[in-house]
């Protein structure tokens, strides 16, 4: 159990492995985690957490299959190979919301978004005007709910650039801190965005203004580089530390046991 911690820092990790390792730290033992489609980084992170510091992390794969034991990360995170060997099927998917809407369970949710803004609002709907869009994005799906119902949101973004991390989203399809400050709270919404893990840095939200804040930059990435890749001015407080890199054992687990086919790499470079 302690192996992964005692193991030395990896010297040949790749950025996807670092992101998986960082995301895994958001989940503690006996948390409940669920995933949606195209969620290779979060699924790898759940499997890593279960293999290391959170063996009793409850995983509801695809919001449908409880405690699955997939041999490896499959080619889809919303198909039967992920949850074929489950303890329970949430057979009628509508029933999932009896657990997710209740404030006591499934409190943390990992989110990918085409656009994310300085207050953690997400856009998966349209670039441009809603009725006359320049780009039609896939749609808000469950994220439109998760943003408003008190969940703690953890964003991942494998392509940190000024088009995906923007000052203001073209369209709010999931609620973050809205216009910042107390605006979210004033609507009676609890929870909200907690962290953002990108290919450059780890970020969170400054408690008062709710503006995105730099927590750490990944080894080899400077604060300036991160700022240049961001569509607005990040909150930077004092010296910004370097992101903790995965240990050799974490990298071995990811490469050999969890995701030998490298599905986690699919989300990069789009």
């Amino acid at each position: 159990m302690g192996d992964w911690q005692d193991s030395p820092p990896s010297t040949d990790y790749t950025i996807d492995e670092l992101m998986v390792a960082v995301m895994s730290t958001f989940f503690v033992d006996e948390d409940q985690a669920c995933n949606g489609m195209a969620s290779f980084i979060p699924v790898s992170a759940f499997m890593l957490a279960r293999a290391t510091h959170a063996p009793n992390l409850v995983w509801l794969a695809g919001a449908s299959g409880l405690e699955p034991r997939p041999e490896k990360v499959p080619a889809s995170t919303l198909e039967a190979p992920l949850w074929g060997d489950s303890v329970m099927y949430v057979e009628q998917y509508g029933d999932f919301w009896n657990y997710a809407l209740n404030g006591r369970w499934l409190q943390k949710f990992c989110v990918g978004a085409a656009q994310l803004d300085m207050y953690g609002n997400a856009n998966n709907s349209v670039i441009g005007d809603y009725d006359n869009p320049k780009v039609r994005l896939p749609g808000t799906a469950g994220l439109g709910d998760m943003g408003s119902i008190g969940k703690l949101l953890y964003y991942w973004n494998p392509n940190h650039n000024p088009r995906s991390i923007v000052e203001k989203v073209d369209f709010v399809s999931a609620a973050g801190y809205l216009g910042g400050g107390s605006e979210r709270e004033d609507l009676g919404l609890t929870g909200g965005p907690q962290a953002v893990v990108t290919n450059l840095a780890v970020l969170d939200f400054e408690p008062e203004s709710k503006r995105m804040r730099l927590v750490s930059t990944h080894p080899g990435v400077t604060v300036d580089q991160t700022q240049e890749a961001t569509g607005f001015e990040l909150v930077v407080e004092g010296e910004v530390p370097e992101t903790t890199v995965p240990t050799e054992e974490q990298v071995r687990l990811i490469r050999e046991e969890i995701d030998p086919d490298g599905m986690r790499k699919r989300e990069f470079g789009r």
Partner: protein
């Protein structure tokens, strides 16, 4: 009085131009693709679609000009990318999208099934999706809490679903798998229900596992036997998605000529499901196929 018919007759008799069609579907999973192909072959027009998550079915229907509006939470083929033909049609203004969160879509359909004017949700509060949608209205909590979202009842004209087995009365059974809302609520909200099934069996077969029967015959209007009726989407636990065909479509859909060729080769060319199965390599190949790849 049997409800068993052909897919041609089921679609011709029960789907009218302009209808709102609730379509079983996920990104790569369990869509009634034989029924979708028949909608295209019959040249249906101005249909509205209701999907939780639409995949290749939506893209085919968009490419063929069958649909002019969509009510749903997402459209994507997951690892095979966005649906390009759908996306193009929306960007051209040919398809209007009513984008809903999952709870809002469930609420609209649940209210439709239960003859309620609306069901409430706390999803979407604070988003722009409420502002652009007259079917979502903020209402006060009569018990003194904060406002919530009333989601107006939605009653599709017809629901299309694919099942593992059904009997001639329209009783519908599924193997143990995840039943997305397209099974859980769409057929109960819709005015008519068309079921395609991998096989039609005697009612006695259903009686062996009454817990696996999930739709009662009295809500079903037509039943059609269509082996591999969900191909090229997956139909767990019976078969996986056809990754090669998804890749072929995803690649071709970026190019008009390739799209037209694909449509001719697999959809408008083959006159029926048997010809379609031949066109995709035959039942022998499908049975031997390693699924869930790519």
């Amino acid at each position: 009085m049997t409800k068993v018919t052909t897919i041609e007759d089921a679609i011709a008799s029960h789907v009218q131009d302009g209808d709102i069609v609730a379509l079983q579907n996920m990104a790569t999973q369990a869509a009634p693709m034989a029924a979708v192909r028949e909608l295209i072959r019959q040249g249906k027009r101005e249909l509205g679609l209701v999907v939780l998550v639409g995949g290749m079915a939506v893209d085919w229907l968009a490419a063929a000009g069958v649909i002019n509006r969509l009510i749903g939470a997402a459209v994507s083929m997951e690892q095979f990318g966005l649906c390009q033909q759908y996306r193009n049609a929306v960007e051209r203004g040919d398809i209007a999208v009513e984008e809903l969160s999952e709870t809002a879509l469930n609420a609209r359909l649940g209210a439709g099934a239960r003859n309620l004017p609306f069901l409430p949700t706390r999803g979407l509060i604070g988003t722009d999706l409420i502002d652009i949608n007259d079917n979502l209205v903020m209402i006060p909590d009569p018990f003194g809490g904060t406002d919530i979202v009333a989601c107006k009842a939605l009653v599709p004209d017809v629901a299309l679903v694919h099942a593992h087995r059904a009997d001639q009365h329209g009783n519908v059974q599924y193997e143990p798998t995840i039943l997305w809302p397209d099974i859980g609520i769409m057929p109960k909200a819709a005015t008519k229900v068309i079921v395609t099934a991998e096989e039609i069996v005697d009612t006695e077969v259903l009686r062996r596992n009454p817990d696996r029967t999930v739709l009662p015959g009295f809500i079903v209007d037509a039943v059609v036997e269509v082996p591999y009726g969900a191909h090229p989407t997956s139909f767990p636990p019976s078969y996986g998605y056809d990754g090669a065909m998804h890749l072929e479509w995803a690649k071709g859909a970026r190019d008009p000529d390739a799209t037209a060729q694909f449509m001719e080769k697999y959809i408008t060319g083959p006159g029926d499901q048997a010809a379609y199965l031949d066109a995709v390599g035959g039942v022998g190949k499908l049975a031997a196929m390693q699924n869930w790849e790519a």
